[in-house]
């Protein structure tokens, strides 16, 4: 367990964390500000990945694929809100869960019908397939470094948008007291629709960046959805800052735990037991973390509502 290995794993954790943040940022606003339980957020990841992979394949240019996929995901979020979601705001949470769970099934099947059940081919752009030396003799994949940078830029962008702009002020006001915000003459419906579409777009960006790394296939977003719900609960529902901090924590805990926990366990128990219990315990780690946070800070690390 050398220093370079720990450094490399920290970068891996960071990369997982920022990807998670992009998914969780939109979801925390939808849950916290719009008070809407939206389970189909993973489908937005999938839509982003498919849009980017399909356009990349057709045009032969990865950057063009991503550039054109961004408006596609924004539009899909906007349309989804307009066609379906806005009719569900007044329903209770259980009905929202059922309806948006149905949307997951719908999107997965729609993708299967239009793209086939096989995973779509998508690969790294040639210009990003090299390595960057983060320390002498410690090469790190350039693309993953790029993912970290894009994720951090998005985080800064969202932070500035929420804390420095007029729309951000409305969003914050909406989070604190939606009725009062509406009473002050702010069009809360349009605001919600924009938040929803922006959230879908951010999740789509996560999907686009994951595309070259993982299998682009129907249902690819669901594992991310579960982790991003954990992130939201740890960070505090409705808080973008909380989502960022929690996403980085979850990314690091999950990655470092997965790699180092089995070898740490080996110091205390025999090899066979450690090999069996290590991976099982590592996969529980983020949920244990969530439980601990809930015990001491029931509203999360950065509660949005006072």
């Amino acid at each position: 367990m050398t220093f370079t290995l720990i450094l490399e794993q920290t970068f891996n954790g960071l990369q997982a964390g920022v990807t998670l943040f992009l998914v969780a940022a939109g979801l925390t606003l939808i849950l916290g500000i719009m008070d809407f339980v939206f389970l189909a957020h993973g489908s937005q990841v999938m839509i982003g990945a498919y849009a980017a992979a399909a356009i990349t394949q057709a045009s032969g240019n990865f950057y063009l694929g991503v550039l054109l996929a961004i408006p596609v995901t924004f539009a899909s979020g906007y349309l989804l809100e307009f066609l379906i979601i806005r009719h569900l705001y007044r329903r209770d949470h259980m009905e929202q869960v059922l309806a948006t769970f149905g949307l997951i099934l719908f999107f997965n099947e729609a993708i299967r019908v239009s793209f086939g059940p096989a995973a779509l081919f998508s690969d790294l752009p040639h210009s990003l397939s090299g390595f960057v030396e983060i320390l002498p003799a410690t090469p790190y994949p350039a693309y993953r470094l790029g993912v970290i940078i894009v994720g951090l830029l998005c985080a800064v962008g969202i932070h500035l948008l929420v804390s420095r702009t007029r729309i951000g002020a409305m969003v914050r006001a909406g989070a604190n007291n939606p009725e009062m915000t509406a009473a002050l003459g702010i069009n809360i419906k349009t605001l919600f629709r924009l938040i929803f579409a922006t959230g879908a777009c951010l999740a789509g960006v996560a999907g686009m960046m994951l595309g070259p790394l993982t299998a682009v296939q129907s249902g690819m977003g669901e594992p991310l959805l579960i982790l991003s719900l954990v992130v939201i609960i740890i960070g505090g529902i409705g808080s973008v800052r909380g989502a960022f901090v929690a996403a980085i924590i979850v990314g690091l805990v999950d990655t470092l735990g997965r790699v180092f926990l089995p070898s740490i366990l080996r110091l205390f128990v025999e090899q066979a037991t450690a090999d069996g219990a290590g991976p099982a315990l590592a996969s529980m780690l983020v949920y244990i973390l969530m439980a601990v946070v809930l015990i001491f800070r029931p509203t999360g690390l950065f509660p949005a509502k006072g």
Partner: protein
């Protein structure tokens, strides 16, 4: 009037024909929805192709195949098996990709006296202590393929290896099978999460461990993810990658050039040189576009086996059909298949390499035979 009489005579002959001919019903269970739906789709294609090749008749009997989607869930599989037996009254239940699903339906089907034929899963209990004479495998026992990989790597004189498989029963079986024949140093044995999509952390640890070779079992989408990330992390310069059930007709279209040169073991390959296989692969490619996977080949073989069993016994009786199959010499895409005492095939294990074919499509090619007529290790525990 004469014309009318002719019509009467023809229709009488036809109805007599249907009254006397027996027909056989097959319930084919596979996963058609969810992330693994592509595997089931390929199997369904292959079954339909086999039925087409046989002109809709198996062993001379009119045959009907009823497909059932198990959704990769053991409880659903159990319900479906009951429905197929009780309400559809099928004569054979076949298919099943996953070991845990096969375990769930094995007892109910075999006890009912219905013939159960696996097109893929081959868990060790069914090959050994819990074997049943109404079960026949047209695929392999889980351990056979990684045993071949272990033997190949042992023979190649590879000094150290790093192992990686998902943390579930089949993952553990695969690595156990590998270790039965590989006696070099094992630098690490890592169990990843089932369904894991990002392996970068494991790859970093692997790089630090520095083993000469790496052997993985990551089926389906996990294989696509792993191989992609392996290439992207430049791992080829660190270690040599060997695989079982990870680089195949299901993952290759998504991997393309990234897979070239990767070695794996398998009981089948699209380029196996026999008449049945050549016809199967050529017609499958023509009809569905793209190479069939081993899943598809085994599904095709399953229908051929039923055809063979009925033709030889002249009956769709479970006992008679299984007696024919138990005798072996079943014509398949893997040549004439021999059968062990536990009704699992005794077959060759080939070394396959991912290569580009003449049209530039990535496929696998046999580069050697690791085992000739390899039997599984559990048959001696099986007493009918």
């Amino acid at each position: 009037m004469k014309k009318f009489m002719t019509i009467c005579a023809i229709s009488a002959a036809m109805s007599a024909g249907t009254a006397f001919a027996e027909s056989v019903k097959i319930g084919y269970m596979t996963t058609l929805s969810g992330g693994a739906g592509i595997i089931g789709k390929q199997m369904q294609n292959a079954v339909n192709l086999a039925m087409e090749h046989k002109g809709g008749k198996l062993g001379g009997m009119d045959a009907e195949v009823i497909f059932a989607d198990d959704q990769r869930k053991p409880d659903v599989a159990k319900q479906l098996a009951n429905r197929l037996m009780k309400s559809d009254r099928v004569d054979v239940v076949a298919g099943v990709i996953w070991s845990n699903l096969l375990m769930a339906i094995h007892k109910p089907v075999t006890r009912n006296g219905t013939l159960l034929i696996s097109s893929n899963a081959g868990p060790s209990p069914i090959a050994g202590s819990q074997c049943n004479k109404n079960f026949v495998s047209m695929s392999w026992q889980n351990d056979q393929t990684p045993e071949g990989m272990g033997k190949h790597m042992q023979d190649a004189g590879i000094k150290s290896v790093y192992l990686m498989a998902p943390n579930y029963q089949a993952g553990k079986d695969m690595l156990a099978g590998f270790k039965r024949y590989y006696k070099g140093t094992i630098k690490g044995e890592v169990y990843t999460k089932l369904g894991q999509s990002d392996f970068q952390a494991e790859l970093s640890a692997l790089r630090a461990a520095g083993a000469d070779a790496t052997m993985i079992f990551q089926p389906g989408g996990m294989g696509i993810n792993f191989v992609k990330q392996w290439k992207q992390a430049g791992m080829d310069s660190v270690s040599k990658l060997y695989t079982v059930f990870s680089v195949d007709g299901v993952s290759l279209p998504a991997l393309k050039d990234a897979a070239i040169g990767i070695l794996g073991t398998q009981t089948w390959s699209p380029d196996l040189d026999n008449a049945i296989n050549k016809k199967f692969v050529a017609d499958y490619k023509a009809k569905f576009g793209g190479y069939p996977s081993f899943y598809a080949a085994q599904a095709y073989d399953t229908i051929l086996a039923i055809d063979h069993a009925i033709a030889k016994s002249g009956s769709k009786d479970t006992g008679k059909m299984r007696a024919v199959l138990a005798a072996g010499n079943i014509p398949t895409t893997r040549g004439n298949l021999k059968m062990n005492t536990n009704q699992f095939p005794i077959q060759n294990i080939y070394l396959r390499e991912a290569v580009k074919d003449a049209d530039g499509v990535v496929t696998t090619k046999v580069t050697g035979t690791v085992f000739t007529d390899h039997a599984d290790s559990y048959a001696k525990q099986c007493k009918f």
